[in-house]
Symmetry: D2
Subunit: 474 residues, 4 copies
């Protein structure tokens, strides 16, 4: 969107001024004006007005010639806005009034016919629906791109063994691609949530007028078809008072930001000198103004930090809507800035997250070395004992003793002699050594969804199919 908005001049007539005896307080005017942020809806507002004007003409509410003039005038205005020549005026409060006032300037009295059978209440609802339809679609595409990045990096790392953690303690070895595919499936659910949200965004409110519908013989289905909407709002009061399509988006965005914050946290921890598992590309890090050796994972930190503003936007709009009677209150004007910000934030985070993951390097040697004495194959010993007939709980206790012994002796499990093993449990045989390597551990976890290479390959296939199918749907 090109930010070519310009503020100029002052005109004093308010469009709704008939009933009022004194003019609006200057302070209050600045306070209630929304043009500084809702100008961003100009394309949607004009598209909606064009569809409305055509419908008015088609239904005989205005003449064909009037309809033609209105459409031409609106197109001229769109050009003016995009050229930066449009005379925005704060005292016209919002984008709708700015456009209508200009239309009347351009066309004379016929401009005053555009608002027939319409109110700002349904008009702004329409603009937001059109805007969100576009934006949610863009978000879905960006999520799909991020998922594609994950699949492609996962494919690349089908051989790379990586430490798996619980409680930030080394737990079991996993494939690095298993890690990546965990995020893939999280993001897939996010994608599906945005898709579900899109269904409830794809609803056409125009024709509700202020709250009760209109006595003019309008054709809402025609307007919906012109604008590509799948459904109509079936109740006029609901049409103008509903903002839950925005709340649903903000909730889905918050959940996705939460997911991104988890990924960011892991990358920050893994790129610490102590973990040393990955290296962020210089292009996604920044330096310190005083400590030149530092390579700070700023981009990941900022993704993590920006989670806060999206959560805050959700809380903000929930608060706005709490206990608001039907059908419209000016409180609802507060739906825009934070939603716009959440959209921009999420889209930017998705873009940089893709770039960051694409350029991420693994410290493969350090990773391989890190499995020495990390006891992350302990569970494999327990599972081995189960296969030798020990009940799991007993096996678990045996391994506890083995690890305790190792810690006291300063050894890894892989360093124990068979005698040492057998002193603690006689069921352990020579074949134990084939079980207690990271490679063997990973290969063994062939259960559906497990980390064995075959299982991960299957996940990748599922992932590719899903992406391919969804891409076609756009």
């Amino acid at each position: 969107m090109n930010r070519t908005v310009r503020w100029k001049g002052v005109q004093t007539l308010k469009l709704w001024g008939g009933r009022f005896k004194t003019s609006t307080d200057v302070l209050a005017e600045g306070f209630t004006s929304s043009i500084s942020f809702d100008w961003r809806l100009y394309r949607q507002d004009i598209a909606g007005s064009i569809a409305h004007a055509k419908m008015l003409a088609k239904c005989g509410i205005i003449t064909q010639e009037e309809g033609r003039q209105l459409v031409e005038g609106l197109k001229t205005i769109q050009k003016e806005i995009e050229n930066g020549t449009f005379p925005f005026r704060q005292e016209y409060e919002d984008i709708h009034m700015n456009i209508e006032a200009r239309l009347t300037e351009l066309l004379g009295e016929v401009g005053g016919k555009l608002h027939t059978a319409r109110s700002r209440n349904d008009q702004v609802a329409l603009d937001m629906h059109l805007f969100m339809k576009e934006q949610v679609a863009e978000v879905r595409q960006l999520v799909l791109e991020l998922m594609e990045t994950l699949v492609s990096r996962a494919e690349e790392h089908l051989e790379t063994i990586f430490p798996g953690y619980t409680h930030l303690q080394r737990a079991q070895p996993v494939l690095f691609s298993q890690y990546l595919m965990a995020y893939f499936f999280m993001f897939k659910r996010d994608y599906e949530r945005f898709s579900d949200c899109q269904k409830r965004t794809d609803m056409m409110p125009l024709g509700a007028a202020a709250l009760a519908g209109t006595p003019h013989p309008i054709d809402r289905e025609y307007v919906a078809a012109q604008l590509g909407f799948g459904q109509l709002y079936e109740n006029s009061m609901d049409a103008v008072s509903d903002r839950d399509f925005l709340l649903e988006f903000l909730a889905a965005a918050s959940i996705m930001m939460m997911h991104l914050s988890r990924l960011a946290e892991e990358l920050i921890i893994w790129s610490s000198q102590e973990f040393g598992l990955v290296e962020m590309d210089d292009s996604f890090s920044t330096g310190s103004s005083i400590m030149p050796q530092k390579k700070n994972p700023d981009v990941a930190e900022l993704i993590r930090g920006k989670t806060g503003r999206v959560f805050g936007s959700l809380v903000g709009l929930l608060t706005v809507m709490k206990a608001l009677p039907l059908a419209y209150h000016t409180d609802m004007q507060e739906d825009k800035e934070r939603t716009f910000d959440a959209i921009d934030t999420l889209k930017n985070c998705l873009k940089v997250a893709s770039g960051m993951l694409r350029s991420l390097r693994l410290q493969e040697d350090a990773i391989a070395a890190s499995f020495k004495r990390d006891y992350s194959v302990a569970t494999d010993v327990a599972d081995y004992l189960v296969r030798k007939g020990r009940p799991f709980r007993r096996a678990h206790e045996v391994v506890g003793k083995l690890v305790l012994y190792c810690l006291e002796e300063g050894k890894g499990l892989e360093d124990l002699s068979l005698e040492e093993f057998q002193k603690i449990d006689s069921a352990i045989q020579e074949d134990i050594y084939q079980v207690i390597t990271p490679e063997a551990s990973v290969r063994a976890r062939r259960s559906t969804g497990g980390t064995a290479p075959g299982s991960v390959r299957k996940q990748i296939e599922l992932g590719k199919e899903f992406i391919g199918r969804e891409k076609k749907s756009f």
Copy 2:
């Protein structure tokens, strides 16, 4: 759920105690124990364990006889819990360990085989999925009942004209049933959100073990079929670290509570002495301890107030999950209490809201009287002028002048003589008087979704079809 949990006795052995040299700090033990709230998952935990035991036997990981014993033991435990004879022990930390410890008490060493190829990480995930599947279904049924109440009251009030408000100012007359159907369509979207949430709840995590899957030859599809799950988690790390199905529920519940808070607010305002539009039944009001004439809409106030706790639960879990690395952290134990509370709160609010609406009485005489001099047919005059050829903006200005004149003269629009009308706009004719009654205003709004009786009847038909279709799906 029958709260028959009893706390008894103390046993000191921790199930995971092998590695530990000193016992857990008493304070820390109480702090980390979750049995005081997760006992509520006992049915799910036992059902999950039975399916797991059967699968272990079917796959030859334990013998058929062992499988049979485990299943019997688990059934015995369920009976003990429901009889109130089960010896809950806080030092066993959670419901899983309490049940397993008791199983071993009952069965001896075979009890220790149940946990083969499983971890508490996937076990608790399974329990929560089973629990939520049930709960979301119950919530959906309650939403449907509330929707049914609305439809039935709307049908009853297809003739009742009611003031429609924007900005809490009288705007235009509407049918009371139009108001009710606005809420119907809001709740329909809530219902659909819960349905979408249910899809992402209906996923089987067991078999992920701690985080990486298991080397035992398990059959996750079999477990899923036993428990009635539609899908498997495709990635083991995702299976144990995912809590977004809870967040999605909390978000949908928050949005629905927001809707309920709007309804509650309206009922509170409408039942004030000043508005006097509705009367709450005594059974949904309470009295004042000092002002005996008061009839306080407590139930509606409490619904409105309880919105806060559900919003808070959403924020709480978002906060918990923010920046949490994979795969499992004890922070995630905080997912339960608030989710349980949000479910209970929402279900109770849905039940009382249905009861409150069913017993709500309209103050029909007062409503009818209230349209005198309320100017809520002003838009009808503007629309009339448009039909007489005035551009809408001009018509709007004319009506502004008319209302201002009325206010100065202390008259309603319906009190003006034709001369008075024509002094302000000569286009106004005798037929104006047919336009400016509340009845005419409502009847005229025949646009799709508008408040004309035919339009509302169509909404009611859509509503009934939807309810009928969904009821069959349970």
Copy 3:
């Protein structure tokens, strides 16, 4: 603050670029850059740098001449920014680097000496402290002005009886000034919270450098004195990692917005046609685009709605700071935009709330008429009976029966004959009629803090004293 920021030119050298081999990704650069919002700290940044430069010279870390040059250069830059001629560059990331780069452009190598014994970590902390000191003081002044408005309107309305509500039901008559003084005392607590917050804002972080202090012989007390700070941060790691002064401000602002939302809600309800108790001035209302008779309390609605964005900002920053290790992370850059927005929002709301209250008109005739048959003196009857010796609970029950009788007969309490009274309780005498007028009810409530005129006058005196004392403290 004059928004004269201009964006020009592009320079590619990063100030921290020494260690980096590839340049920052263009996308990532836009993502991490904060200059688009932190330019607003330019005055604070320059004031802090001037104090720092003087200190470096005073302590002999740089020469007196170098100090003088740096101070001059910084003053030149301030002029450039305020003239709109300053060459802001996004690739310099933030206001600190933009200023330092320009300083080096102006002064040559000596510019590079300014950052001695300093880091961006303590520099940005200083800027925010300076900024907040100013802003919290401004907020406190605006709160005081609002409190003054309340006191002055309360004085004006010491005779005006107004309905008092609980549960939005008429409860007891009160003075309108009692209502106003209730808000006065709420805002007084808000004022005190901001004062307490100011203590914790008035702390000087500079000298902490990156996190550990500096080996240069600096004089932090001198810098603090130059900048008017009352205290130093006593620990360098705390100095750079603390953001709780912002959180405390956001919490106090949220509580105050909650208070303002309550006031706004009351004004909205009171100015409905049904309540008809007050009339907003036209200058604080707006009209409807389709319903010309409407006078919408937009300003009050928007105050109420803006509560959401302030709550959201608080949640946002709490989320950002949750679980962030010491000492500095880029996440903390997210502290600015939302805090700036919360400050601007609160200040604007305070200003318009003052204006709105100053111009608010009471519908005195309608108010007086509204006490007919509203039963709001019922408690006075109960209290009368207590004085006649009835236990309160019994008196309460008697009044309940009286009101029920009235409702059935369509009468007010004031309409009952003495016989009717005595039929229900024989203790009632002729003097009952002196008790059951709104005037008598109000006059009787002489308890400290009660609504009797003398009590309210005392509150007003307390209020004036407080305002007078605080005003002197600025």
Copy 4:
């Protein structure tokens, strides 16, 4: 607090039942009843009622004998509750009505005199104020204990050099006690916030009655003195509608939990095998059910996780109070459960945090070894160059090149020969080697608040003084 509440029997008469013709819906009764959680206020309720009864007698509103009977009856009830013999009844809604009903059972009609000149509105406000006064004081003591633990551990570690981080990258060496004292000063601000909150909690609402004060000649100052309150609410409507003392507490608790979450996060990261800097005591860790080698920092994780529920409680109550008209609404009943939970949570977290810190062990050998090649003295080289006359920015660049050279050669700064140093900057001399040890780095940072041992010792002295002074104030 001993949870000896018992539920028994059912009685059908509602205390406020006079006006009502049909009894409360069973569902609604359970919904609005608060006795299941407000029983916890029984001590405060009885203490408040005793003070009220004494005042009524003192002021001649009841007789001395009646006063004596009421006081005795109330004491009996307290014993019954604490013995577990009190007949709690849900249909009496709340603790106030349960106690009053029982009082009337015990004393006959005189029981009905207790509620003279009082309402549940001011009564519940009083109970919450009394409760919070106690609780905030307890919280303050626990914070002080935690601060004491920090000071004592800091004193113990005045020699221990520890890595200091920014962006989770090694930045500069610090004393471990500098880390601890950073938390000390954060908690000191928390302590001060709780102290400020206590001022606004220490206000006596009783006497406000329902909302307007009372016509009875009460003595609020006497009641306040009896109960140890410092101030009175000066306005009766404010007294019953104010909940900001709870919000302020929840905000301070949220900020403190945020601080605790940061500490918890650091301990979790530091006790990972990769960082290996600290070891949690076994008594503050738990084991894994499947991975016996794991030692999970559960207690720290749970502290971090519980941050969510406190944030949620704050958001919840802010939401409840948003846009609530004066003076009392049942929504406000939602103030209790979450506040109780936040208090319990915070107190438990403070206790376990103290225990956890007291028993924390440092891995001193590993820490010492970790400084090899970690470049955390790079800033010392830059500061060295500044002392040799290089402008800081140039020095910074030189060090950047040195580190890059080291990374390419696989060396630490301490491994470079003088020639290697001088090849990059000829100003470097033999004395560089005295600068680039962790010990020298720490010792050099003697600026106020810096990490040099003398500076930290000064912080410890300040800390001890503060604790000593505050302890005396209890």
